[in-house]
Amino acid sequence: MDKNDKLAVSYRRRQTLITVLPFLALAGLFGALCAIVTAKGYRLDMYLKIVFNEGVVLAIVATGAVFIYTLGSFDISLGASTLFSATLGVLTYNATESLPLMLLVIFAVAVGCSLFSSVLASVFHIPVFVTTVAMMSVLSAVAAQLITTYGGALGGISIPSEVVKPLDKPLFKIIVLVVFSALCIFVFNYTKIGRRQKFLGGNPVCAQLTGISLNKYAIIAFVMAGLGVGIGAFLTLVYTPSVTTTTAGSIGMNIIVAIVFGGMPISGGARSRIYAALVGGFSYILLNNILMLLVDSNAGYGISQIISAVFFLVVVFVTGINYRTQILPR
C-alpha cells in the first residue's frame, strides 16, 4: 500500500466515522429514553408518541431549512413562519370550513413568507440573517395580534378537533415525512440544484465564476424551506388543533441545534446533508425529553435548556476539530 493509498484509507475511515456518529447518537439517545422511562415506571408508548409527534414537525421543518443552511445562510424566522401559517390556516378554516382551502392558505403563506425574505435579501442585498430576524419579529407580532383578537389572550384559536383527527395517525405522519424527505433528498443529491447549492455555500465567489446565480438558488432554497414550514404548520394543527402565541416558538432555534446534531456544519457547503435534519431533529427531541425526565423539578426546563446548549457547543467543537485538522499547509 503506497502513501496515497494509506492517506485515502485513513481519510475514508474518518469520513465514515463522521457519517456514522450522528446515527449512533440517535440510537444511543433512543435507548437511553427507553431505559429511563422504564426505570421510572412511566408509560413508554406515551413518551414515544410525544417524541414522534414533536420530532416529525422539527425534522420536516429542519429538512426544508437544510437548503437555506447549505448556502451558508441562516433563517431564524422559521418558527414564526410556522406560527403565522398555522394561525392564518385556522382563521381560514373557521371562516370557510374548508380543509383544502386551509391547506392552501397554510402552504401559500409559508412559501410566501420564505420568498419574501429571499427577495428582500437578493433585491436589496440585505444579509439573509438580518431579513429573517426582521421577519421573525413581524410574523410573531402579527400572529400574536390575530390570536389575541380572535381567541383572547390566554385561550388561543382552534379548529374543531374532528376536522384533523382522522389524520392524527403515525402512519399518515410517517408517509408525509418520507415523501417530503424523499423529495428533498432527490432535489439535493440527484439534481443540479442541490449540487450547485452546496457549491454556493462552500464558496459563493467561485460559484458565481462558475456560472451559478446566488439569487436563483437562494430563492429555490427558501421555497423548499417554505414547503417544510407549511407541512410543519399543518402537522402541528393535526397534533393539537389549536394555536397559541407560543406555538412553534422555539422551532427557529431548535433547527440550528438539530442540524448540527445531525452532523452538518453550520457553515453549510459541501458537507451539508439532508439526513442531518432528520437524524438531528429526532435526536434533539429525544435529548430534550431525556433531560426533562432526569431534571425533575420546577427548574427542569431551564436546566435542560442549559444542558442542551452545552451539548450543542461540544458537538460544534468536535466537528470543528475534524475540519481544522484537515487543512494542511501547502
Binding site: 440527484y190 449540487r195 462558475t210 459541501a270 501547502r330
Partner: protein, 499 residues
Amino acid sequence: MAKPILEMKGMCKRFGSTVALDKVDLTVYPGEIRGLIGENGSGKSTISSIAAGMQKADSGEMVFKGQRWNPASMVEALEQGFGMIVQEQGTVPGISIAENIFLGGISQFAHGPFIDRKKLMAAARQVLDRVGMDSVDPALPMGLLDMQDRKLVEIAKVIARAPDIFVVDETTTALSQIGREKIYELMREQKAADKSVLFISHDLDELLATCDTLTVLRDGKLGRSFTKDEFDPDLIRTSMIGRELQGDYYRSDTQATCRKEIALRAEHLTAGQAVQDVSLAVHKGEIVGVGGLSQCGMHDLGKILFGAIKPDAGSVTTGSGAAITSEAVAMKQGIGYVAKDRDVESLCLSASIQDNIAVAGMERYAVHDFLILGGRERKYVDQQIGELSIKCAGRDQQVSQLSGGNKQKVVFDKWIGRGSDVLILDCPTRGVDIGVKQAMYQLMVRLKGEGKSIVMISEEMPELIGMCDRLVVMKDGRVTKEFTRGPEMTDTEIIKYMI
C-alpha cells in the same frame, strides 16, 4: 564564518499519514539570502512556517540568534525578530491598512485606553512608502485592496518590525514586475544590514538572481544545497524533481499559427478606469497573451471576456455572434475562466476534488440536463483526474489538502472536462512548480492543436514569449502594442510598452 542566525536540525512533521518533513536540517547565516526551492508539497512552506511560529514540529531542534527557539505564535516570533510573509492571505479585510500593518503591536500607539490614530497613520504611511504604496491611504479598509496590494501590505507589516530574518514564501507570484523589484530591493537592504532572508519561490530565475545560497527540498527531505558559484539551472531542476524534464518546456515552434475562424471577439471595451477602449479578436487554435503590469487592466479584461464584469461600453461576442453578458452565458457558449486568485475564485476549498471538477461539467453527464447519477458523475471525474494526473488520495479528497500545482490541475480539469472551446487563463502557472508548469504548457499546446482558443493573461514575460501566437500589451487600461510570435517578440521590446 559567522555564527548562524537560524539553525534547524532534524525537523520532522507529519499531517496524518502524510510526511511533510523528514529530518530536515536548515541553516541561515547573517547577511545571507538563502533560497528554498522544491516541487509543490516538498515541505518548503512547512519548514518555514514552523520556524515562524505558525505551527509546531513533531520533533527537531531550532536555535535562533544563539537561543533555543520554539515560538508560540507568529506574533511572538515577529516580536523576537522572525518575520514571515505567508503564501496565501495574511491580512484581515475588515480593519484598516494601518491596523493590519501594526496588528499585534497596536499598543505602541496607545495613550491610556485610546489609540493615537494620527501617530498610527503616520507610522503606517512611512512603512507603506517603503514598499512603494505611496499613493494608498493607510486609513482605507483592507478589503478594498486587490491581491497585489494586500500582499504589499503584508510585506509592510513584516518590515515595520525590522526583523533579523525575513521569510518570503512564494510572495512574488502575487506581484507584478514593479512589486517584485520592490521586494528584491528590500531583500538587498536586509542583506546589507547583515540580516537574513529565507526566500521561497518556484521561479528559478529570480532565485538565481537574488540568492547567495539555494537549498532544494524534495518529498519532505533535504536535497542538495548550492552556493552561488555552483548555481546551474539544469542541475537544480534535476535535483528538485529527481529526474530530467522530458520534452519541451515552452512551445518549440517559432511562428504564429491559428485557424481563420474567430472564436471570441471584444470590441471597444471600457470598464471604469481599469479598461479603456480595448478591442481583441481570438481565433480558433490561437494562444493570445495579454501582458502588462499588474494594475494595467488585464485581470479585469479577463473577467469582462468571461462576462463576470459588465463593461460600461463595448461588447464581447463569440464567433457565431452570441453576446457574452454573464458567466452563465459564457459557459453556455463554451468559454472557461481560470482566475488568478485560485483559492478564492477558482476553487471551493472545503469541497472535494469531485465536487470542484463536477460542478462545471454537469451538462456533460447529467441525464436530461437535470438528473445527476452518481456512477456517471464519478466516471466523468475519474476521467478528468486521470487526464491531468492529479496526485491525490482519491476523488473524495478535500481540495484544501492538495498542493498548489495539483489544485491548479483541478481548476484546469474543471474547465477542460466540460469541453470549453475558449479558455481565459489568468496567471495559470501562479504558485505551481516547474514540473506542473511544464505539464500546463504542454496541455496548452495540445489544446491549441485541437483548435481551442486560449487567452493567457500573465505577469511572467518568459511564459508569454514562450507560449503565445500573439501578445497584447496593456498599460493604464489600454492596449499599447500587439506583437506576433517571432524574433521581434522579446522582453526588451515588450517592456517598452508596459511601463
